[in-house]
Symmetry: C2
Subunit: 187 residues, 2 copies
């Protein structure tokens, strides 16, 4: 069950969401994920378990919803003066955050949910950050690769390596970025 | 807890593993994943729950272990007469299998486990398939890109798109393969 977007701020629905999210974050800090249950969250949030089931469907969906909020970027990408520099700094930071303990937990929660809504949201957050870098580059009159090429050639290999094996080194991240800029003349 | 590799075939340990794996596969076919418990698997497999906990640690780790066996390739990559053709056919099949209902479930189970052992195993299966294609290409005297470049430029974007959003089209998969062959002269 997808959570309604654009909940009226300050409305009852928004208050329930805020208090349930806060309860999950508190419990995650206090105990292991395997010990957390819907009744426990409901008690802490001051709502009934059925409110949670009605709104989120199941525990995994709620955990995914909380995780995606944690993965929402809280700043504009750093401005280094060039698109290539911005992408390099952003990609290194992305690799670092996603491979950290909490980063891995959030990504795992997002991917464990049955519906892909939250995973798509995560992907869109990433895309928006790269678009912001691309817009700045174009304002400076610089070349910047297609967003899809950046997603496929920089973001995807970083995430694949984090999920399926080794964390990419900074050097490898810089190589990936250099590469997508070098694709300029490729067909 | 990682499962011991190289279990002596036919030994007690191998028989326990085979019967527990079979029990999980049967139960997965009969009921939803959320209903499956360790005691239920133990009863079906004719072992005690503590045998399962001792060997696999927890349910998620066991599910990951079963899933990774399902993801083990059961054939050599198809020989089309050229490395580029082989990789194209293999990549299309990979995208199709991993984005199918069962494929997604297996990948989800593998990634949901706390330890990354099974995810690394999956990645190694994929790498071995590509290495087999590369060896054939070299025997024919053809150029074939680095295995790492294929992992980053073909495998990673296919998996990223399946996990975080849309399934890549066949056309896009062919483009990715064409591209990694085009990188030939890149630095």
């Amino acid at each position: 069950m997808a959570v309604k977007e654009n909940i009226r701020p300050g409305g009852r629905s928004a208050r329930v969401q805020a208090s349930v999210h806060a309860a999950v974050r508190e419990l995650l800090a206090e105990m292991s994920r395997a010990e957390i249950t819907v009744p426990l969250i409901a008690m802490r949030a001051g709502v009934t378990p059925s409110t949670i089931y009605r709104r989120w469907g199941d525990l995994q969906q709620l955990l995914a919803d909380v995780a995606v909020e944690r993965l929402r970027p809280d700043m504009e990408p750093i401005d280094t003066g060039s698109g290539a520099g911005d992408l390099e700094v952003w990609a290194e930071q992305y690799a670092e955050e996603m491979s950290s303990g909490p980063g891995r937990e959030y990504v795992r929660d997002v991917l464990a949910a049955q519906t892909g809504d939250n995973a798509t949201k995560c992907c869109n957050f990433t895309r928006q950050q790269i678009e912001a870098i691309a817009v700045r580059a174009k304002e400076r009159g610089e070349f910047f690769p297609d967003i899809d090429a950046v997603m496929d050639s920089v973001v995807a290999p970083i995430m694949y390596r984090i999920l399926f094996g080794d964390v990419p080194t900074s050097a490898r991240v810089r190589e990936l970025v250099g590469h997508v800029f070098g694709q300029r003349k490729a067909p």
